[in-house]
Structure formats: structure tokens, C-alpha cells
């Protein structure tokens, strides 16, 4: 009985959170921007794919007409066309999640619902769970729309409909986006709840977003020797893969520092997981799903850890929210 009342309260709060967020114009504008640019990104990739597949088919036809029976396989992976879409989810998805978190607190403060809620027998855990579930449902809806558009673009424009194993990998990549965006949602809530002025909380969260999503990965990326020369250092030196690996074996400390720096960023773990799932990285192509998930266990663990730590911070913020609102400067 107590359990059902408990879950009923959480679901009611989650529904309220979902409806309020869905009605918000700022959020709607951001979601539209994300969906629009993700579509553009997939469209560009799909057009490119379509023309490359046509080139490949011409090559196969020419080879067969001249009596060649064995031809090279198509060097393209349809899922890798979604790289741009996942990069946008990494950058803009995180901003949307921060704004969701900010809105959650701003709404309570400016409409004075906080005081009303505190007169009812609702615990801080129920409020935290309710608002987090509502936000995660919004995120899931957004990902569902983005995923559907991506699959349609690949099929209709790229001319290649995803097979069930590819659909499963895409679903897993989209599922990983939920804890990623969820962590940023928690960050938005925590910083806005602690800020005296709401917009200061939002700006503080955006400063952290800047560091975690853009600066740290950028520093790690520019420290990569292969990124210092257009086309790649080893390619410009005309070095084959075995020689490249032999050379890099001498620079393990440097590579470890670079890798540790990237590991500090939640965004990089998300990127590594989704790029692995969408065949962006050559080295994972041909892996079975179990093998791939095993290879990516470190990134899965980091995503879960960030989500849990920030989730705990979110609960603490709800626990420590003052009974009387602190002004609620917009």
C-alpha cells in the first residue's frame, strides 16, 4: 500500500515535469534546433553515402564485365553516417539537459509551487525521483524522434535500411545518451538550486559544460600526434600500421597522460561508446555485440558512475532546498 502510494506520487510528479517541460518554449526551440541540425547532418551523410555506393556499384559492374569475379567489399558502414548526429547529441544534447534541469528549479521558484509541495506529505526523495523520471522521459522522447529521423534518412536518401543487428546497436547508442544527458540534467538542477540567482546557476552549468564537453576533449585531441598533420602524421610519413604501432609503443607514457585527460571527460566516454556502436572506428567493425560491449565496459561504467554521483547530488539538492524560496531572480 505504502509502496503503491509512493510510486503514485513519483509518477504524478514525473508527469507534471514532463508536461511542464513539453510546454516550455525555450526547450521546444532547443529541441527543434537539435532535431533540425541532426537531420541536416544525417542528410549530408546519406547523400554522400548514396553517391559512394553508386560509385562502388559502377566499379563492381565494370569489374564483372571485364571478367573479374572477386571484387573488394563495400568499404562503407551505414551506421557510421550517424557520427555527426551523435556529435550533436554530445554537444547540444548536454545543453538541452542542463536547460531541463534549470527549468525544473526555476519553475518551482518562480511559480511558488515549492512552498505548496512542502505542505504535502512528499519526501525529497520522491520529488527528486519524480523530476528526474519526468526529465528522462523527455530525453527518451527526444532520442526516439532523433533516432526515427536518422533511420528514415538513411533508408530513404541513403538507400540502405538498417538490418536488425544495426538497429540494435543504434538503440544501444541512443540508450547510452540517456545517462549522458541525465548527468547534465542533474548538473543543471544542482547548480541552479544552489544559486541565488537562477540565471547564475544556468551560466555556471554552461561553464562546466564548456570545460567537460569542449575543452578537455579538444586538449586530448590536439595532443594526439596523428592529429598534428592534415591527413594524419603516419599517413603523411607513408608508414604502415605495424610500423606505426611499433613507434607508438615507445610513447606509452605520453599516450597514457593524453588518455587519462580524455577519461576525465564524461563526453569522451559517451563519444567512445557511441562511436564504437555506430561503426565509426574501424577497429570495432566486425566485432560481435557481446565483444563490443565487453570492449566498451569501461565507458559504460564511467557513464553509470557519473549518473549515480550526480543523481545523489540532485537528491541532496532537493533535501537541502529551503522551505521559503530565495527570491527567484529570473
Amino acid at each position: 500500500m505504502i509502496g503503491s502510494t509512493n510510486s503514485r506520487i513519483v509518477v504524478t510528479l514525473a508527469r507534471h515535469e514532463y508536461r511542464a517541460a513539453a510546454r516550455n518554449r525555450v526547450l521546444a526551440a532547443l529541441v527543434l534546433v537539435l532535431v533540425a541540425i541532426t537531420t541536416v547532418s544525417v542528410l549530408i551523410g546519406a547523400i554522400d553515402y548514396h553517391s559512394q555506393v553508386a560509385d562502388y556499384q559502377r566499379y563492381v559492374a565494370a569489374a564483372r564485365s571485364s571478367g573479374v569475379t572477386q571484387t573488394a567489399p563495400l568499404p562503407l558502414q551505414v551506421l557510421s553516417l550517424l557520427r555527426g548526429a551523435f556529435e550533436y547529441l554530445e554537444i547540444i544534447g548536454a545543453i538541452i539537459a542542463i536547460v531541463l534541469g534549470y527549468m525544473s528549479i526555476a519553475r518551482e521558484r518562480t511559480s511558488n509551487t515549492l512552498m505548496l509541495l512542502q505542505t504535502r506529505p512528499i519526501t525529497s526523495m520522491q520529488r527528486a525521483l519524480g523530476s528526474a523520471l519526468g526529465a528522462l522521459a523527455i530525453i527518451a522522447t527526444l532520442l526516439l524522434v532523433t533516432g526515427a529521423i536518422a533511420v528514415l534518412c538513411l533508408g530513404v536518401i541513403g538507400g540502405d535500411w538498417l538490418a536488425p543487428p544495426e538497429l540494435l546497436k543504434l538503440t544501444l547508442a541512443l540508450l547510452a545518451t540517456i545517462p549522458y544527458m541525465g548527468a547534465f540534467y542533474c548538473l543543471g538542477v544542482v547548480l541552479t538550486a544552489h544559486a541565488r540567482s537562477l540565471s547564475n546557476g544556468l551560466m555556471a552549468a554552461l561553464v562546466i559544460w564548456l570545460a567537460v564537453v569542449l575543452i578537455i576533449p579538444q586538449v586530448g585531441d590536439t595532443m594526439d600526434p596523428d592529429n598534428q598533420v592534415p591527413g594524419g602524421l603516419f599517413q603523411s610519413l607513408g608508414v604502415d600500421k605495424p610500423t606505426e604501432l611499433k613507434v607508438l609503443a615507445k610513447f606509452t607514457t605520453y599516450e597514457k597522460v593524453r588518455n587519462d585527460l580524455e577519461e576525465a571527460s564524461l563526453a569522451k566516454h559517451y563519444e567512445r561508446f557511441t562511436f564504437g556502436m555506430t561503426d565509426v572506428k574501424d577497429k570495432y567493425r566486425g566485432f560481435t555485440l557481446t565483444h563490443l560491449l565487453h570492449e566498451k565496459r569501461n565507458d559504460i561504467a564511467w557513464l553509470a558512475a557519473y549518473m549515480l554521483v550526480l543523481g545523489a547530488a540532485l537528491h541532496r539538492s532537493y533535501q537541502r532546498q529551503p522551505a521559503l524560496p530565495r527570491g527567484g531572480t529570473p
Binding site: I37, I47, L210, P225, V229
Partner: protein, 303 residues
């Protein structure tokens, strides 16, 4: 009066925690840019030496060192990324604060109850913003020069100092574009947070979306100072590439790379042409902001 408005704006910025936090990030990254450049360069030279050793042992031909002709300013190549990344966001916040604080505190309502012209007010705001951003870039320039002295162990030549000055001058114009975007949304929006998010949306579009459409640069590729040449053989890019001259972030990065000599040099007139769209956009936005301030009803409150 113009000077008083500019001074008051600088005072407001000094008190803003967010401005200080982004400023500190910008200066830290400027200081780190030289160090990161040196570390990467140093490692690559060692990678090259090791490759040469292995290839010699295998009896293969030795390729030329791709870093033989790298100029000293190339160590600062990351700066051309930090300005569009951190500098532009900092400028957006500066522009936002410039217009929004007066509205939120009611100072603008009080101010315009006095015989003060809107044009003087907006000129004061432009002046305050330009001084603030120029101050940020001047501090970055000092830090960059210091890192060059420490890393290269010699004082930069007059020509290199000149190039740095040109780079920071162009960066100022580029940052002013985003400050003006921040201002425009701060005047037109009734909601403070919407104003920040909308200005950030414009930054995202100009920094990531437009370069992808015009040049096929993916968002994370845009974060690397060295980018692979993008194929423009596709019919899609053959059409969209026509818009590349007005893609301000690409033009900024290209002209910065040319000034800092991180990419093959181009003629000064060609470099100057790349600055034109940035300047034109800044001028258009300045006129737009001037018009918005002139027409704005400051008796209206915020939501």
C-alpha cells in the same frame, strides 16, 4: 555620459562571477596553448626520429620531416580554436550582461527618465564591451608572448609580435560579433535565461552547423586546429561551398591560421578579404542593436 555608461558596465562585469569564471578559463587555456603546442611538437619530433630509425633498419626510404618548416608562432595554433570556443562564449556573456543587467535592476528605466539619448547609451555600451573584450585579449596576448619566450627560449621577433597583434585584432572583431548577438537577445527577450540560451544557439549554429553544411566539417573536427582537407567533389558541397566565404567561423580560423603561419601562407589581400564578412556581420549587428535600443520600451519588466 558615454564614458560613464562604459565605466558602469565594466564595474558590473567585474562583479559578475560568471564573467570572472569564463575569463579565468580563457586565460588558463591561453597559457596552456603554448605548453600544449610545445608538448605535442616535442613528441612528434621524437615520433619522427623513432620512425626514421625503424625505417632505416627496414631499408625503406626516409620521408621528409613534416615539421621542419614550422614557424615559432605555430605553437599557439590552439588559440585559433580557443577564441571561437571560449572567447565567443565569453563575449556572448559580456554582451548579455551589458544589456540585461540594466533591465533586470531597473537602472535603464531610471536612466531613461533623465534626458539621456539612446544613441549615447548604446555607444557607451559598445565602448564598455569593446574595452572589456580588448582587456581580455590583451591579457591573452601577454600570456601568449610569455609562453613563446619560455617555450622557444628567445624573444619573438618584431614580425612575430606584429602577427600576434594582427591575430588578436581580428579576434577582437570576431568576439564583438558574439557580444552583439548577446546584446540583441538581451534587449528583445523578456526572459533572461531565454536570452542566454538563444544567443548560445546562434553561437552553436555559426560555430558547428554552418561549417558542416558548407565544408562537411563535423562538430568535433571543428575543434582541431589542423583539419583534413574535405572533399568537395560531391554535388551537395559544390552548391553549399558557395556560402563558405560568409561562414564567419571558417573564415576566422583560416585567416588566423594564415596569420599564425600554421597553414600555407596566402596573400595579404586574400587574408583581408576573409575578415570582410566578419567585419560586415559585426557592423550589421551593431546597427541592429542600435535600432533595437532606440525602439525598446524600457518600462516593460522581465518575466
Amino acid at each position: 555620459m558615454v564614458w560613464n555608461i562604459a565605466r558602469q558596465q565594466l564595474l558590473t562585469l567585474r562583479r559578475s562571477g560568471t564573467f570572472i569564471a569564463i575569463l579565468a578559463t580563457m586565460l588558463l587555456m591561453t597559457a596552456l596553448a603554448g605548453f600544449i603546442g610545445w608538448m605535442s611538437h616535442h613528441t612528434i619530433i621524437k615520433v619522427y626520429d623513432e620512425t626514421v630509425r625503424l625505417l632505416t633498419a627496414q631499408g625503406k626510404p626516409i620521408p621528409a620531416n613534416p615539421f621542419d618548416s614550422k614557424p615559432e608562432l605555430a605553437l599557439l595554433s590552439n588559440l585559433a580554436i580557443y577564441v571561437p570556443l571560449i572567447g565567443a562564449i565569453l563575449a556572448t556573456i559580456v554582451g548579455h550582461i551589458a544589456m540585461m543587467e540594466d533591465r533586470a535592476s531597473g537602472a535603464a528605466r531610471l536612466l531613461f527618465s533623465r534626458p539621456i539619448s539612446r544613441s549615447r547609451y548604446v555607444i557607451g555600451k559598445f565602448l564598455g564591451t569593446t574595452i572589456a573584450l580588448a582587456g581580455v585579449l590583451a591579457a591573452s596576448a601577454v600570456l601568449s608572448t610569455l609562453s613563446l619566450v619560455i617555450v622557444n627560449r628567445n624573444v619573438p621577433a618584431a614580425g612575430e609580435v606584429g602577427r600576434l597583434a594582427v591575430f588578436f585584432g581580428i579576434s577582437l572583431v570576431y568576439m564583438l560579433v558574439f557580444a552583439l548577438v548577446g546584446m540583441a537577445f538581451a534587449i528583445t527577450s523578456r526572459n533572461r535565461s531565454f536570452a542566454i540560451v538563444a544567443a548560445l544557439g546562434v553561437w552553436l549554429v555559426l560555430t558547428f552547423v554552418v561549417p558542416q553544411v558548407t565544408s562537411g566539417l563535423r562538430p568535433t573536427t571543428s575543434l582541431n586546429p589542423i583539419t583534413d582537407p574535405v572533399s568537395t567533389s560531391q554535388s551537395f558541397f559544390q552548391v553549399t561551398a558557395h556560402a563558405r566565404p560568409i561562414s564567419v567561423s571558417e573564415q576566422y580560423k583560416r585567416v588566423s591560421a594564415s596569420v599564425l603561419q600554421t597553414e600555407p601562407a596566402e596573400s595579404p589581400s586574400r587574408s583581408a578579404l576573409r575578415v570582410v564578412p566578419i567585419l560586415a556581420l559585426a557592423l550589421l549587428l551593431a546597427l541592429g542593436v542600435g535600432g533595437l535600443v532606440a525602439r525598446h520600451d524600457y518600462s516593460r519588466g522581465l518575466q
